[in-house]
């Protein structure tokens, strides 16, 4: 052993002996080599840690800094750009925001004393390695984020991206991901109220599994992650801590300071975590009871970076320091080292700060729910995070340097030279269908295509009913849940992103994602209120990717300012690429809206009223850049995405919300991928009611049916309301076109002078695709 005399061998609960690198030992062995590169730290980052500490870090400290300074936890490449969200949020936009960027999740005031919190996070890479568990733990993680705000989680959503639908690896990944999301969310008792399923070759090898959770609480119950009050106790509760997910940190164990692999060395462990939704369900109920009983001063979930993150974040958000006795942490595996315990990503754990006099009551509530809970430390006034292991100090750091003062990079940003050629290659040259038979065939081919076909194969695996408050779920433009059973107040949420649009123009494309999510919320009758996002991109070390990222952030922030709704939080996922090829830039945007009475929701399907007129709101232009038609029929991607006009989106939303409030609209469906044809098919199938469509005189049916111009919605208005509604549109300057009537007797979609489709034919075509691929 070269480590020297200060190395102590300590018996961990009678288990295998573990060598401990204490602070004292680290100070005495400055030259001891450490595997910081294997842990992902750069030379200068390691040097900075030494500078902060005035010595080399201990193994445990190195483990903490390396995970907390990783891209995922420190946002080191994105930080300089994300600041723009704060800079563009006006006081007016902040009026309803109770917590924003920087907290576990954003919180907005929805009225009547209710607050709602929501956030979306990625679990992309783990879901590629092990689809079921990766996706399951993704749901588990986001739910704990919401819980940590003091809220009851009330719904989940899952924006997903996969490689080509018929690729063999998609057959491995997609069913596993869907089963994992269902397996976890269903068992947790959270209704799944929406999401996305998008296929594109760029996601082969890099599927995107984003998970969103919505929670609700009374405004006064908001909990923030603060460890304040010297003498308060730190309690770790939930599952035991095991070796799962420690990934890279295992090099510390195998590499002990002697470099001797034979001793306590551990083989490199898979960084896969297994979820236990039952434990999480119990943990949720336990936490909510603790909140109700007023036993929690501060709370933090354990997610990525486990205890490293929870302790350093709690301590640096508080007003002092924190001392933790790591040997008190209940373990699942034998012989775990302090570094491993600090880095473990075992699921279903939470960390709370509790007044000493409340500890007994806290532990009693945990016992009632059979939740393991242990006092592991206390809040101090030292300004330091001190962690001991059987009496030896193994961590002694200023907590902010771990949690918030990680490296910040100004990565090179450069618009790729190839972008011009991409934009120049417009879809104008593509052959378009014109004869009725061709249009008919195109429509059927489009609705059966993987990106436009029915998602039932997926959504039938998700419980959308549990808790009894789901008012809208698939198929609908947004999911909607009732928050207050007495008044009917509720929220609607939609997530969207068309990565092809973003690829063609990241700024506009991201605004289109925002516009679509915003519109999806408005067509259900809810007023958009707040935004969250999950920015999925390739490598930040690629200047072209950083350009996409910068443009996306600017587009989103500027768009939000124009729409008057704030970004309340989000998540960044970089390094989504295979070799040098990045995924389509995919900034998933989530918009949340409020509706004061969910009984006034606007459904998607035709036929709710006896006689309905069909109106197309907005303007239809010849816009096919990045369209589903170009993709499906020609495999083409080029040109510019549709124009975006956020003032128009705002107007459209106002009209739709007024229409819902005054009972003037009986069905509405936004127009997006696939255009009017897709919207008509979906509204007819969902409502199981046919309609007759007459396109305006002189209109080019192809453009009218398949263009993806933004700022449009298809609405059905009761005949008795038609005049009142169109007068309102005209008065407000919203273009509208009468395009037909719903026919309650008909079982067909008839598009005059183009084609007639039996609903049964449409349904078989639309619903057949995913079962054929994945059953």
């Amino acid at each position: 052993m070269t480590g020297g005399s200060k190395t102590k061998t300590i018996d961990n609960d009678g288990a295998a002996a573990v060598l401990v690198d204490s602070v004292e030992h680290a100070a005495a062995t400055p030259e001891h080599p450490q595997p910081y590169r294997e842990l992902g730290l750069k030379d200068d980052e390691y040097a900075r840690i030494r500078e902060i500490l005035g010595r080399r870090p201990t193994d445990a400290e190195l483990a903490m800094y390396s995970v907390m300074w990783s891209e995922h936890c420190s946002y080191k490449s994105s930080k300089v750009h994300l600041r723009y969200f704060g800079e563009t949020t006006t006081d007016e936009m902040k009026a309803k925001m109770l917590a924003g960027i920087g907290e576990n999740a954003g919180v907005v005031d929805i009225g009547d004393g209710w607050a709602v919190t929501f956030k979306v996070e990625s679990h992309n890479h783990p879901s590629y390695v092990e689809p079921y568990q990766g996706a399951a733990t993704g749901v588990g993680g986001i739910v704990r984020d919401i819980l940590a705000m003091g809220a009851r989680p009330v719904a989940v959503m899952d924006p997903l991206r996969f490689g080509p639908a018929d690729a063999p690896d998609t057959r491995r990944v997609l069913p596993g991901v869907v089963a994992g999301i269902g397996g976890y969310g269903n068992c947790l008792g959270l209704p799944n109220i929406g999401g996305e399923v998008v296929f594109d070759a760029s996601y082969a090898g890099n599927p995107l599994v984003n998970a969103l959770c919505v929670g609700s609480m009374r405004v006064e119950d908001l909990h923030l992650a603060h460890a304040s009050g010297t003498g308060n106790k730190v309690i770790l509760f939930g599952a035991r801590t095991g070796l799962d997910g420690i990934g890279g940190v295992s090099v510390l164990a195998s590499d002990t300071f002697s470099g001797d692999e034979s001793g306590t060395g551990r083989k490199k462990l898979p960084s896969v975590q297994v979820g236990d939704p039952f434990t999480e369900k119990v943990l949720i109920e336990c936490c909510l009871e603790l909140f109700r009983s007023g036993l929690v001063v501060g709370i933090q979930d354990l997610g990525g970076a486990g205890l490293s993150c929870a302790t350093s974040e709690l301590a640096s958000a508080g007003d002092g320091g924190m001392r933790v006795e790591l040997d008190r942490v209940p373990l699942r595996a034998e012989g775990m080292t302090p570094a491993e315990i600090l880095s473990s990503e075992s699921q279903e754990r939470m960390c709370a700060v509790v007044r000493p006099e409340d500890v007994d009551a806290f532990l009693r509530v945990c016992a009632k729910w059979d939740v393991t809970a242990t006092v592991i430390g206390e809040v101090t006034d030292t300004g330091r995070l001190e962690i001991t292991w059987h009496g030896e100090t193994v961590v002694d750091v200023p907590p902010r340097t771990v949690a918030h003062e990680g490296p910040v990079y100004e990565r090179p940003v450069e618009r790729p030279a190839s972008q011009d050629a991409l934009v120049a290659d417009t879809p104008d040259r593509l052959a378009r269908p014109s004869a009725p038979a061709e249009l008919r065939e195109t429509l059927l081919r489009m609705i059966a295509s993987p990106n436009l076909c029915s998602r039932r194969w997926v959504t039938d695996q998700y419980d959308r009913y549990v808790r009894g408050n789901t008012v809208l779920a698939q198929p609908a433009d947004s999911g909607m849940v009732r928050i207050d059973e007495e008044t009917g107040r509720g929220v609607a949420v939609s997530t969207d992103c068309n990565g092809r649009y973003v690829r063609l123009d990241p700024y506009t494309g991201t605004q289109l994602a925002l516009a679509e999510a915003y519109r999806n919320v408005a067509v259900t009758g809810a007023t958009p209120l707040a935004v969250t996002n999950c920015l999925n991109f390739g490598s930040p070390e690629d200047p072209g990717v950083m350009w996409q990222f910068e443009q996306a952030v600017r587009g989103l922030a500027d768009g939000c300012r124009e729409l008057g709704i704030p970004v309340t939080g989000g998540n960044v996922s970089f390094y989504n690429q295979t070799g040098d090829t990045a995924i389509l830039p995919t900034p998933v945007v989530g918009v949340l809206g409020v509706i004061d009475d969910v009984r006034r929701r606007i459904p998607t399907g035709f036929g709710a009223e006896a006689g309905e007129t069909l109106l197309l709101l907005g303007e239809t232009r010849d816009e096919f850049g990045g369209s589903e038609w170009a993709h499906v029929v020609h495999g083409h991607l080029g040109g510019l995405p549709p124009r975006v006009d956020l003032a128009r989106e705002r107007l459209l939303a106002e009209v739709l919300v007024a229409g819902s409030r005054d009972g003037m609209v009986s069905a509405a469906h936004d127009l997006s991928e696939g255009g009017l044809a897709q919207a008509l098919v979906e509204a007819a199938l969902v409502g199981q009611t046919g309609c007759r469509v007459v396109l305006p005189e002189g209109a080019d049916p192809f453009v009218w049916l398949f263009s993806e111009s933004a700022g449009r919605a298809l609405v059905a208005v009761p005949r008795t309301e038609e005049l009142r509604f169109t007068d309102m549109c005209t008065a407000r300057g919203l273009p509208w076109t009468r395009i037909g009537v719903v026919d309650p007797e008909s079982r067909a979609l008839e598009i005059q002078d183009v084609a007639t489709f039996e609903l049964d034919e449409l349904r078989d075509t639309w619903e057949g695709t995913l079962p054929a691929l994945f059953d």
């Binding site: 089963a179 269902g182 397996g183 269903n186 068992c187 947790l188 008792g189 236990d276 939704p277 039952f278 434990t279 369900k281 119990v282 729910w369 059979d370 959504t459 039938d460 695996q461 998700y462 419980d463 959308r464 009913y465 549990v466 808790r467 009894g468 408050n469 789901t470 008012v471 009732r482 059973e485 969910v598 009984r599 059953d775």
Partner: protein, 243 residues
Amino acid sequence: MTRIGVITFPGTLDDVDAARAVRHAGRDGAAEAVPLWHADADLRGVDAVIVPGGFSYGDYLRAGAIARFAPVMGEVVRAARQGMPVLGICNGFQILCESGLLPGALLRNAGLHFVCRDQWLRVENNETAWTSRYERGAEILVPLKNMEGRYVADAATLDELEGEGRVVFRYVVDEPEPGQAPKRHLGADSPNGALRHIAGITDPTGRIVGLMPHPEHAIDALTGPSDDGLGMFLSVLDALVAA
């Protein structure tokens, strides 16, 4: 006032929904939902018990296998044997089967996926404590959502159930037979592979009923596919008032 107990095990999910259904059925103050806790061997003087859906104990061993041993279940079994109406929904049905209050067992869906869909059921027996408000042969639309919903029993048990009219609900497919009156029919397969399309059964007394689909999620067309499920909760109130 009629008091209906709703049990919560760790991992129970649809207890809030069952309680809401009881409140809806007893709108005029005729009924109260009483929460019952798995660890208490105490039914708190209730007149009937609902064992709700969810994943008690994660359903890790077999659905319902661990819950059946909970202290409260001992009391439920005792009370049920003395004639107290008991309804098991989904996980509750699985627990009643594991407890021996109802015959048979529920296995993983034949399609191996969790299934969540709006499902038509035919009411085959309207003489139980929980189905008297329906007409015999009525068709109702309620959500079905489960992973282990495939009802199985040996042939003798199935024959006995059929012979005694103890099949309470059967799955029917949503398309009416072309050219026929709006009667739905048994499809080729039930949605989860249940033998003889069995969705719900009763004990010989007609007071203990278990079913996989979720009537408590069909009490209001705002949040469910219909309000067809409410009849079950109204039925038991009738039965208890009459008693």
